[in-house]
């Protein structure tokens, strides 16, 4: 991996040693999502795992958005 950026590498990689937040893979509305579980059946989307490109345009599954699973 090679970074080509104007930001100093030390700043980019700051906090790299911290343990990553655990994620779960779950199917919601027929779309497989990697989620960061939160409270009250809420979870933050980390990424979409799908071969259907239209799933990636769905605004409710954009990385960072909150989904509800019950």
């Amino acid at each position: 991996m090679m970074l080509f950026t104007v930001i100093p590498l030390d700043d980019v990689l700051e906090g790299m040693e911290e343990a990553p937040v655990p994620t779960v893979v779950m199917s919601i509305g027929g779309v497989t999502l990697e989620l960061e579980p939160g409270e009250n059946f809420q979870a933050k989307v980390v990424r979409v795992i799908s071969t259907d490109p239209s799933h990636y345009l769905n605004s409710s599954y954009q990385p960072g958005s909150i989904v509800h699973w019950t």
């Binding site: 090679m2 104007v6 980019v12 700051e14 239209s54 990385p63």
Partner: protein, 233 residues
């Protein structure tokens, strides 16, 4: 709409603002979707390595299927790529640039704020490239990161990576190899570093970008590309 529904809607939009810093724009009446889509490439372009959460990133594994979806959807007539990026992973950046370049859907790029480092190939990959008057683009050599062994092979490898970026920019803009190389290794312009900062019309003058403008310019150029007039490059 009942009071409950209204409140629920409000909560949802507040949530959108909180989580993404974005507001959901309500679709105008009678129009299901817009003919032009807008892809924002912001912060670091994240590639093979997940960057620490302090970084604002554009995830390339998400952008690439989006481009495929846009290319396949006949309702989407054009794509506006808005860039404000500090660079990032070379392979991910070049992947996005190659995808944009090889799309049949007309594309226009608009650099706002900054389109630095690996942002430059993405900016020139669009059919027409626009830079706002105050936006900057930094052209500089690739630096060493990760495992570095002090042998000639390391430098040869680095040179090869550099060459990929140069070749792409030269092929898809009006700038020549020598001129680009000269800008990349110029001294005295960046603090303790080599490279060149291009502001607005300077990027147009050297032939990297096509025009200085804003969102209205970008959208009218996109309309022209869609209607088939004034195909550039």
């Amino acid at each position: 709409m009942s009071e409950y529904e209204e409140r629920h809607d409000e909560e949802l939009s507040l949530e959108t603002i909180k989580e993404l810093g974005q507001m959901e724009v309500p679709a105008s009446a009678g129009e299901e979707s817009q003919p032009f889509h807008c892809l924002t490439i912001i912060g670091q372009i994240e590639g093979h390595m997940v960057l620490p959460p302090r970084n604002k990133t554009t995830k390339y594994e998400h952008v690439i299927p989006q481009l495929v979806a846009i290319e396949q959807n006949p309702k989407i007539e054009g794509l506006l790529v808005v860039l404000n990026t500090v660079g990032g992973d070379i392979e991910a950046g070049l992947a996005i640039a190659e995808m944009l370049k090889t799309m049949n859907t007309p594309t226009v790029s608009l650099v706002l704020g900054g389109g630095h480092s690996i942002g430059a190939p993405i900016a020139v990959a669009a059919d027409y490239s626009i830079i706002s008057a105050t936006a900057t683009m930094t052209i500089h050599p690739i630096r060493l990161s990760g495992l570095v062994i002090g042998v000639p092979q390391t430098y040869e490898y680095l040179d090869k990576m550099q060459e990929r970026v140069i070749r792409f920019i030269v092929k898809h803009s009006r700038v020549g190899t020598e001129a680009l190389r000269d800008m990349m290794f110029r001294t005295g312009e960046l603090v303790r570093d080599v490279g060149t900062v291009l502001v607005g019309d300077e990027a147009v003058k050297v032939g990297l970008m096509d025009e200085v403008g804003g969102v209205a310019t970008a959208l009218s150029r996109l309309s022209q590309l869609v209607s088939g007039e004034g195909k550039v490059q």
